[in-house]
C-alpha cells in the first residue's frame, strides 16, 4: 500500500519520565511499511510507555516520534483514521454489547470492514448481544482487536494482543496478524511471549529497563552462535581429556555427553572423529541452537547495561 518511503514508525532517542522514574531512556527504532515489529520485554521494560508516545497520548520528554510521517500528538486527528490501536486492557463502555461497540467504531470509518465477518473470524458472534462487562478477559481482548482492525488501517499498534487469550484464540490472532502483514498492513506489537515474537515478527526489538538491549530479525538474534550444544549418546565412562581443547565437555549421565563451544562444521567433524578414534559406538546425536528465549533471558537477566547489538 502506498505511502512511499515514509516509515510506518520512526522513533529517535525517545525519553519518557514519570516524575523521578525514567521509563524510556533514549530508544530509537524504525518500523518499515508492511512489516511486523515486535517490542519484547518484561513488564516495566518501557514498552507501553513507548507505545503511548507513538499513539500521541504522551509527548516524549526527549527525542522524537513520527508515525506515518506525522507528529502523533500535534497531528493526532489526522493520524487516527489511518491507524488501528488495540490498547492494553481495552476499556470500552461496560454496559454496551460487543456488537454495539464494534458497530460504533465501524461507523467512524470511511470504509469499514464487515462487522459480521470480524465477529465470526474472532469467535465473537455468540457474544454479539453480551454486554462488555460480562465478557471474559480473552473475549474483551478479541473485541479490542476487532475494534483496532475494523477501520481498515494501514498501521496497527497491538499492545500485548494475546494476553489473557486461550490457545485457540491465540492462534486465531496470530493467523490474523499474518494476514494483515500479507495484505500490506504495518504492525507494531508488544509482547512478552517469545514464541509470539519468533513466529510473527520481521524485526524484534528487545527492551530492558527502558533501553534497547538488542535489535534484529529473529534469525539474526538467534544465529550469532551457530550451534550451541551438541549432545552425544555413546559408550559410558570415556576419558574426555583429549576432547577438551577449546570446548566444554561433560558426561551429564552415564553415556550421555554434552559438548559446547566452537561447534562450526569443522568443529562438529572433529568431535565425532574423536568419538570414532576412541572406539566408542555413537548411538544418537542431537544439536541445540539458541532460541530467542535464550537470547532474551541472557539479555534481560543481567543488570549491567548491554550495548545495542545488530
Amino acid at each position: 500500500m502506498g505511502g512511499g518511503d515514509v516509515a510506518a514508525v520512526e522513533v529517535r532517542d525517545v525519553v519518557v519520565r514519570y516524575g523521578d522514574t525514567t521509563a524510556v531512556s533514549g530508544v530509537s527504532l524504525t518500523l518499515p511499511r508492511g512489516r511486523v515489529l515486535a517490542l519484547l520485554g518484561h513488564n516495566g521494560a518501557g514498552k507501553t510507555s513507548l507505545l503511548q508516545v507513538c499513539e500521541g497520548f504522551r509527548r516524549p520528554d526527549g527525542g522524537e516520534a513520527r508515525v506515518l510521517g506525522l507528529d502523533p500528538v500535534g497531528q493526532h486527528d489526522e493520524l487516527m483514521p489511518r491507524m488501528g490501536i488495540m490498547l492494553q486492557s481495552s476499556g470500552v463502555y461496560p454496559w454496551a454489547t460487543a456488537g454495539e461497540i464494534l458497530r460504533l467504531f465501524a461507523s467512524f470509518a470511511a470504509n469499514p470492514l464487515d462487522t459480521d465477518m470480524l465477529l465470526d473470524r474472532l469467535g465473537l458472534r455468540k457474544f454479539e448481544r453480551t454486554r462488555f462487562r460480562r465478557l471474559s478477559g480473552g473475549e474483551q481482548q478479541r473485541l479490542g482487536l476487532a475494534v483496532a482492525l475494523v477501520g481498515r488501517p494501514e498501521l496497527v499498534f497491538l499492545d500485548e494482543p494475546t494476553a489473557g487469550m486461550d490457545t485457540e484464540a491465540r492462534h486465531t490472532t496470530w493467523q490474523l496478524i499474518e494476514e494483515l502483514r500479507a495484505d500490506g498492513v504495518s504492525v507494531l506489537l508488544t509482547t512478552h511471549l517469545l514464541d509470539e515474537a519468533e513466529r510473527l515478527a520481521d524485526d524484534v526489538v528487545i527492551m530492558r529497563s527502558g533501553q534497547v538491549a538488542a535489535t534484529g530479525t529473529p534469525a539474526e538474534l538467534t544465529s550469532s552462535a551457530a550451534i550451541d550444544v551438541l549432545e552425544v549418546r555413546a559408550d559410558p565412562g570415556l576419558d574426555l581429556s583429549g576432547l577438551r581443547a577449546g570446548r566444554t565437555v561433560a558426561e551429564a549421565s552415564p553415556g550421555f555427553y554434552t559438548v559446547s563451544g566452537s561447534l562450526d562444521t569443522a568443529g562438529l567433524a572433529e568431535v565425532l572423529a574423536w568419538f570414532a578414534a576412541a572406539g566408542a559406538a555413537v548411538t544418537a546425536i542431537n544439536t541445540r541452537r539458541r532460541t530467542l528465549e535464550d537470547v532474551y533471558l541472557a539479555l534481560t537477566a543481567t543488570q549491567t547495561p548491554v550495548g545495542a547489538t545488530k
Binding site: M83, Y93, L104, L149, R152, E179
Partner: protein, 252 residues
C-alpha cells in the same frame, strides 16, 4: 492470497460520527437505572411532593408556580452536571475515553457529542416534567419562553463544563462524591423546595441553580424579563467552566 485487510483507511463524515456517538451516549444513559432515577425520579418526587403538599415554607401561596420552575432548573443541573460528571469520571477510569481518543472521533467530536446528548436528554426531561406539572394544575405563561430557553442553555453549558472539568482533575470516586454533594447542597439552598438565602446579586453567582430557577419563575410565571444579574451570572459560569473544561480535558 486474500486481501480482506488491504488498507483503505479514512474517516467517516463527521455528521455520521457525531450521530452515532450521540446515539450511544443516550442509549447507555437509558440503560443505567441510577441515571434514570437521578434524571427523572428525584425531580418528579420533588415536583409532586413540594408542589402539591405543604411540606415546606415557600415565599408564595402558589406552590406549583414556585416549585415547577425550580424542578425544571434542578433537572437541568442533575443531567448536565451530576450525571455528566459521574459518567465521564467513570468513563475515564474504565479507559473508555482513551479508547475513543484512539479513534477518529476527535476531542471536539467527543465534547460536542456529550453536550448534544445532554441537551437532548434535557429537552425530553423538561417536556415530561412540564406535562406532569400541567396535569396537576401548573399554569405557566408562554410569552417569555425565549429568555427561559436562553438561560437554560447557559445554565446547561456551565454545568456541563464544570462536570467535564471535575471529571478531568479528580479521581472518579472523588468526582462522584463531589458531584453528589454539590447536588444535595444545591437542592437544599438552591431555591427549589425552600426559598434560597437572599445574598443579592452575589447569590446568583454562587448558586447558579437558584439563579436559573428564579429566571424561570420570572419568565414562565410572571411573563417577565430575566434580571441582568442572572444573565451575567449564568453567562460567566458557562464561559468560565466550558473554557476550563476544554483546556483541562485529557483522554486518560
Amino acid at each position: 492470497m486474500s486481501s480482506t485487510f488491504a488498507p483503505a483507511p479514512g474517516r467517516a463524515p463527521m455528521r455520521t460520527i457525531l450521530g452515532k456517538q450521540i446515539r450511544m451516549e443516550l442509549l447507555l444513559t437509558a440503560r443505567r437505572g441510577e441515571a434514570v432515577v437521578l434524571a427523572m425520579g428525584v425531580p418528579l418526587l420533588v415536583l409532586l411532593g413540594a408542589g402539591l403538599f405543604d411540606v415546606t415554607n415557600l415565599p408564595t401561596d402558589d406552590r406549583l408556580g414556585y416549585v415547577v420552575p425550580g424542578v425544571l432548573a434542578l433537572t437541568v443541573m442533575s443531567t448536565a452536571f451530576t450525571g455528566q460528571a459521574i459518567t465521564t469520571g467513570y468513563e475515564r477510569s474504565y479507559g473508555v475515553l482513551k479508547r475513543l481518543g484512539a479513534s477518529p472521533l476527535t476531542r471536539p467530536g467527543l465534547l460536542i457529542a456529550k453536550t448534544a446528548a445532554v441537551f437532548a436528554l434535557i429537552v425530553l426531561q423538561v417536556l415530561v416534567l412540564a406535562l406532569v406539572g400541567i396535569a396537576v394544575g401548573w399554569r405557566p405563561e408562554a410569552g417569555a419562553l425565549l429568555p427561559a430557553i436562553g438561560v437554560t442553555v447557559l445554565a446547561a453549558g456551565g454545568y456541563t463544563g464544570l462536570a467535564l472539568l471535575l471529571a478531568s482533575v479528580l479521581k472518579p470516586e472523588t468526582t462522584t462524591g463531589a458531584a453528589t454533594l454539590i447536588y444535595v447542597v444545591m437542592l437544599s439552598v438552591g431555591g427549589i423546595m425552600f426559598a434560597a438565602p437572599d445574598l443579592g446579586v452575589a447569590g446568583w453567582f454562587l448558586l447558579p441553580l437558584a439563579a436559573h430557577a428564579e429566571a424561570l419563575r420570572e419568565t414562565l410565571m410572571h411573563n417577565g424579563s430575566v434580571p441582568i444579574g442572572i444573565w451575567a451570572a449564568l453567562l460567566t459560569w458557562a464561559v468560565v467552566w466550558l473554557t476550563a473544561a476544554a483546556r483541562s480535558f485529557k483522554w486518560e
